[in-house]
Symmetry: C2
Subunit: 353 residues, 2 copies
């Protein structure tokens, strides 16, 4: 059964009569069409699914029309004015994506009348949390292209080269290999600045002995990859080697625990406890990982704060790191499919420093 | 006077006692710090400005601490839980960015008590609409790098080359020349697919006679460029040449009208009427342009629907196009500073087809 029909069945089972999908990623997931401007997918019991798009997106959206009707917002109106008129006809309760609708649009669309609004946030997110075979195939392809980028970065790491120059090489490699676009801003950061997990790449040149974090990802047919490796310029010194191995072991311990039905928090805490035993947990200043799919960060969050069970078919990153101010940072990130039996690691790059 | 102090003066003049800034771009504009994860800038009459960030952003944000206090959201809490606790202390009215706060967070932060919420959407947007000299300098630099990308695309346009291969070359050129990142997904589209203004680049190969739209932009120190040129593979035929000149003339007429105090709608209608006289307005299916700055699309919208006056110091794109289904599309886009006397065109590329 296609996704939009599955979604229809889910909302019917819950007795939901009207649903407004306002997140472009949810629309892409349900219809196959990636909106490039503001768009809305409206379900009403009477009229079924309507995909409202601007004139810019109309022709392309028509190519995907199946189990829904494409409606063009006329150029004379902004699409939000057009939607306001359409939504005025709804008199009963409507479910919305509260996390993907600004409070401004909420007021504009619904504050004028007495329609009852409900939060339908979790419904599409839950569907997206479990990937089918074709989704895993696309993620695998994104991983393969991104691995080529990582290897290109590794080849280019040498004294005197700038972070941005290396980034340019890795992106060039990924795009020539069919990357549709990038999953996020490439992060190639050397030296003490690598102690900031989200530092930006600059024209700074690499020095001998620097740690270099390479955290990159491409998108392929909508699906994201997100991989990190840490290198050194020249031979690693003793402390770099020790901490690298520590992070790697923390990651391995966590990955071993991944299977359907295990709490996400347990996986995070496995890595965190391992670092705590060695006295380094205070330098691990973020959560362990995140789901990956049409978005780089999606459900399930692999966080000590998330006590939900992880599900078979989820795809997650596991990325422990230590960040020592004034010294530098180390992070290793791989992508794993949650599977019965053994967790399936999609990344195949070597992990020796 | 720095921006955050100017903002403080504006809200004091309006008698605003509390203001929550939730858009990362507004935070970047006011503080100089670009958040990489969820962040909030809170102003209260008692405590002044507080920048609340996650642990990931904390160290970097501290480097920008000036006229505001950086507060770290502890790892134990999500930053939205942390903010909820902070916002509970506010008992009077608070102004919010309704367009940049999800309805979910609005409910989470404010629905529990009787604090009165007001929409403060326009305040920072209006400040950003008028650029100072340092902002125009950064946009100019982004334009110069992007122009190198356009020239690289032009050099690479030939029979048999794929759209994505050309995109890879242009992005590589922009990054090696210091582009911090891209302002948007590069759009290099050939043949009849160019009739879709937002089509995606593919591995499709160029054919002799194809129209090729190249719409690219990089970011430099936060500021965006956005330039479009249309080329042909080999010599242009008569109709391609005619329509190209028509779009170019429409653009020239519109640019001539740009000066402070003129309505944005008048500029859009100048180009639209010119195309109407020749019978092509029905193929011009979007608005004429948009403001450009920290975001690729920001105020002022150069649309027939926008009757506001444009202001001295705004930077806008002017990008008429014709899109004929089954034939192809032509668009030309330049970047202009609104200035007394004559509009200042920042782009310097030739415009012959």
């Amino acid at each position: 059964m296609n996704r939009i029909s599955r979604f229809k069945r889910i909302i019917e089972e819950k007795g939901i009569k009207n649903f407004l999908v306002s997140s472009p990623i949810s629309i892409y997931y349900l219809t196959g069409f990636p909106p490039t401007t503001e768009a809305y997918l409206l379900y009403t019991e009477n009229d079924g699914f309507e995909l409202h798009v601007t004139e810019i997106d109309y022709l392309e959206a028509k190519n995907f029309e199946k189990n829904f009707t494409v409606i063009k917002s006329p150029l004379e109106l902004t699409i939000s004015d057009h939607m306001k008129r359409r939504l005025e006809k709804i008199k009963e309760e409507i479910f919305l994506e509260y996390s993907h609708l600004s409070h401004f649009l909420f007021n504009k669309f619904f504050n004028y009348n007495n329609v009852k609004c409900e939060n339908g946030d979790g419904l599409i997110t839950s569907m997206r949390e479990v990937k089918d075979a074709s989704e895993i195939e696309k993620i695998t392809k994104a991983v393969k292209i991104t691995e080529k980028g990582i290897l290109t970065a590794q080849k280019n790491i040498c004294e005197g080269k700038a972070e941005l120059e290396i980034a340019a090489e890795t992106e060039y490699e990924m795009r020539r290999n069919g990357a549709e676009w990038f999953a996020f801003e490439s992060l190639i950061v050397a030296g003490v600045r690598s102690a900031n997990p989200h530092a930006k790449s600059t024209m700074n040149k690499l020095n001998k002995g620097d740690l270099v974090i390479v955290d990159i990802g491409c998108r392929y047919e909508g699906y994201c990859a997100d991989i990190t490796r840490t290198f050194t310029v020249g031979e690693a010194d003793t402390r770099q080697r020790e901490l690298y191995n520590l992070v790697r072991e923390a990651q391995e311990h966590a990955i071993e625990k991944i299977k359907p039905g295990v709490k996400a928090s347990y996986i995070d805490l496995t890595a965190r406890e391992y670092l705590r035993e060695k006295g380094y947990d205070k330098y691990f200043i973020h959560t362990l990982g995140h789901g990956l799919g049409l978005e780089t960060h999606e459900a399930p969050s692999i966080s000590f704060r998330n006590n939900s069970d992880i599900k078979q078919g989820s795809v997650v990153t596991i990325e422990p790191g230590v960040y020592i101010p004034g010294w530098g940072g180390i992070r290793i990130e791989d992508i794993i499919v949650v599977d019965e039996g053994k967790p399936r690691v999609l990344t195949n790059l070597p992990k020796a420093i």
